[in-house]
């Protein structure tokens, strides 16, 4: 599903964020991406969603080399990837419904056609009754779940999450992770970047560990990094 082949990324100015990263996440797999801040987690996710381009190496999604994707095609790639952010990235002046409907409207659905899917997505994250609310009226955990509903509303085969539990307490964090597990169960590949090692330790999932831009561990996280 996602394949990195000797991927390096050097930012203008010389900072090397990733060097020679190699891994493959299979369709329907769920994996964590971890490491200290600045280890390159965000850069790695940005390479998948083509917010950045690698300096060397190849990134492939479903066998497609992302180097061959022109910038005019990038939006269409992003429609295949559900993205979740630590800061939710919701439109604050739009209702929950409008926020979740956004990816469908962008794809050309009318509001009526989108309605059923939006409500179904909100149902999955347990916010079906709050579709009329505005993001400010919701708690942090609820806002995060709106972001998740938006990411899954067009049923992408791949979910990327960047510190989705960053601002949440352990109980809420676990709820969010359970939500990801439920999507994974129906076959969606999920890659979650997090530095919440305690959370990872409790779940036996494949974990990619980055340190200073290098992939130093790929497998089950046995013990938290010091």
């Amino acid at each position: 599903m996602i394949r990195f082949e000797q991927v390096s990324k050097t930012y203008p100015g010389g900072h090397q964020a990733l060097s020679h990263v190699d891994f493959h996440i299979k369709p329907g797999e769920m994996a964590f991406l971890t490491g200290h801040s600045g280890a390159g987690k965000s850069t790695l996710l940005k390479l998948i969603s083509i917010m950045e381009r690698p300096t060397a190496g190849r990134v492939l999604i479903n066998g497609h080399d992302l180097r061959k994707i022109k910038s005019s095609q990038v939006p269409f790639v992003r429609r295949d990837i559900g993205m979740i952010f630590q800061d939710h990235r919701l439109l604050m002046d739009k209702s929950v419904f409008d926020n979740v409907a956004l990816p469908l409207i962008i794809e050309g659905y009318s509001v009526q056609e989108a309605r059923k899917r939006v409500l179904a997505a909100l149902e999955k994250v347990g916010l079906a009754d709050k579709y009329r609310h505005y993001p400010q009226m919701l708690s942090g955990g609820e806002q995060q779940r709106v972001g998740i509903a938006r990411a899954i509303v067009n049923k992408p085969p791949l979910l990327l999450a960047d510190e989705p539990t960053g601002n949440l307490d352990p109980k809420l964090s676990m709820e969010i992770i359970r939500l990801f597990e439920s999507f994974n169960k129906v076959g969606v590949a999920v890659l979650i970047a997090t530095h919440d090692l305690g959370l990872i330790a409790r779940l036996k999932y494949r974990t990619l560990t980055l340190k200073e831009g290098r992939l130093i561990n790929d497998g089950l996280e046995e013990e938290p990094l010091a």
């Binding site: 369709p27 329907g28 969603s49 917010m51 999604i61 479903n62 497609h64 994707i69 005019s72 095609q73 939006p75 269409f76 790639v77 992003r78 429609r79 295949d80 993205m83 952010f85 990235r89 919701l90 439109l91 002046d93 956004l102 990816p103 962008i106 794809e107 050309g108 659905y109 009318s110 056609e113 938006r150 067009n154 049923k155 992408p156 085969p157 999507f183 129906v186 076959g187 969606v188 590949a189």
Partner: protein
């Protein structure tokens, strides 16, 4: 359609994705445009003061050229009327006898290029001059009549244009009996030159004002875009194309032009109404009936079209530059 997952419908995890029939998608295009047009109007409505300012600037900028245009149009109409009535005076030599004058008159009357010939004898001329000038008694001191006989010639319809009348006059002047001729077009030519000057000024000024409208609208839209930066980033993250994101901004520009054009009409009409009474006073002094013509329906449509095009052009400039440059970080 999915770029990376050609078989996304059947791809693991993605449940059966309800496909939209092509004709429904085709139908959705105009509906979407309409929705976005209305949505951006709503957006303007939410911030009416700032948008009205931009619309007013646009409208008033277009008012000046359209008012100037109305002025030039009316002046052209007047000078056109006067040109039609052009007549020439041919002053005859003083040593002619009555018969020669009559012969010349008859000869010219037969000329197909000439409509009408009137003889004003020096006695008639003096009487008229006495009556009109108010020098009545002074003229009595003159020992003899200094005025020549005059033949007033009105050219045929097809010879009334300035150049043709000019050449006709040159020919008539060539006659032995004629001292010299005068075509009353010199002031007309001056008026024509002034009109041309006004037209050139109108063109230059109009162009400058249009350019400034484009820049003003562009700047306003640029500020709109920058204030929506966060939302644009979010839309790009969930897969919106530049075309999708820029559409509401383009519609905003169109609305600026739409309303600005109407403001330009109103302001032009107001301006015409304002000067109409003084124009009437002037024309009454000249004993002429004159109706000041405002913008015709077609001209109004044209002003409107220009306004909308300028609004669109301004927003397009801003959108092209700024939507692309905003990328998620």
């Amino acid at each position: 359609m999915s770029l990376l997952f050609g078989n996304r419908e059947s791809a693991a995890g993605a449940q059966q994705r309800q496909k939209l029939a092509w004709y429904r998608r085709a139908l959705m295009v105009p509906v979407h445009h309409l929705q976005q047009a209305v949505a951006s109007l709503g957006e303007l409505w939410r911030n009416p003061f700032a948008s009205l300012l931009t619309m007013a600037v646009l409208g008033l900028s277009l008012t000046l050229p359209s008012a100037l245009y109305v002025l030039v149009k009316n002046t052209s109409a007047i000078s056109g009327e006067w040109q039609q009535a052009s007549q020439m005076s041919l002053f005859l030599r003083k040593d002619l006898d009555e018969q020669t004058r009559q012969t010349l008159k008859t000869q010219w009357e037969l000329d197909p290029r000439i409509d009408e010939v009137t003889l004003i004898t020096k006695e008639q001329g003096l009487a008229e001059f006495r009556q009109r000038s108010g020098f009545g008694e002074t003229l009595d001191y003159l020992e003899n009549n200094p005025l020549p006989d005059v033949l007033l010639v009105i050219p045929a319809e097809s010879f009334r244009a300035p150049e043709k009348a000019e050449s006709l006059l040159a020919e008539l002047e060539g006659a032995r009996e004629v001292e010299f001729g005068k075509l009353d077009v010199q002031w007309l030519e001056r008026l024509q030159a002034l009109l041309n000057l006004a037209k050139d000024i109108l063109g230059g000024l109009g162009l400058l004002l249009c350019l400034s409208v484009v820049l003003i609208v562009g700047n306003t839209i640029r500020l709109n875009i920058l204030s929506q930066r966060e939302a644009i980033v979010v839309m790009k993250l969930v897969g919106a194309t530049n075309a999708f994101i820029q559409r509401p901004f383009l519609y905003t520009g169109v609305w600026y032009g739409f309303v600005g054009g109407i403001l330009a009409w109103l302001a032009t009409a107001l301006l015409i109404w304002w000067v109409e009474s003084s124009v009437l006073t002037v024309t009454e002094l000249y004993d002429t009936q004159f109706q000041l013509a405002g913008l015709s329906f077609n001209e109004m449509l044209f002003v409107w079209l220009i306004a909308v095009v300028l609004g669109l052009a301004g927003s397009y400039l801003a959108v092209r530059r700024h939507i692309r440059s905003i990328e998620p970080q």
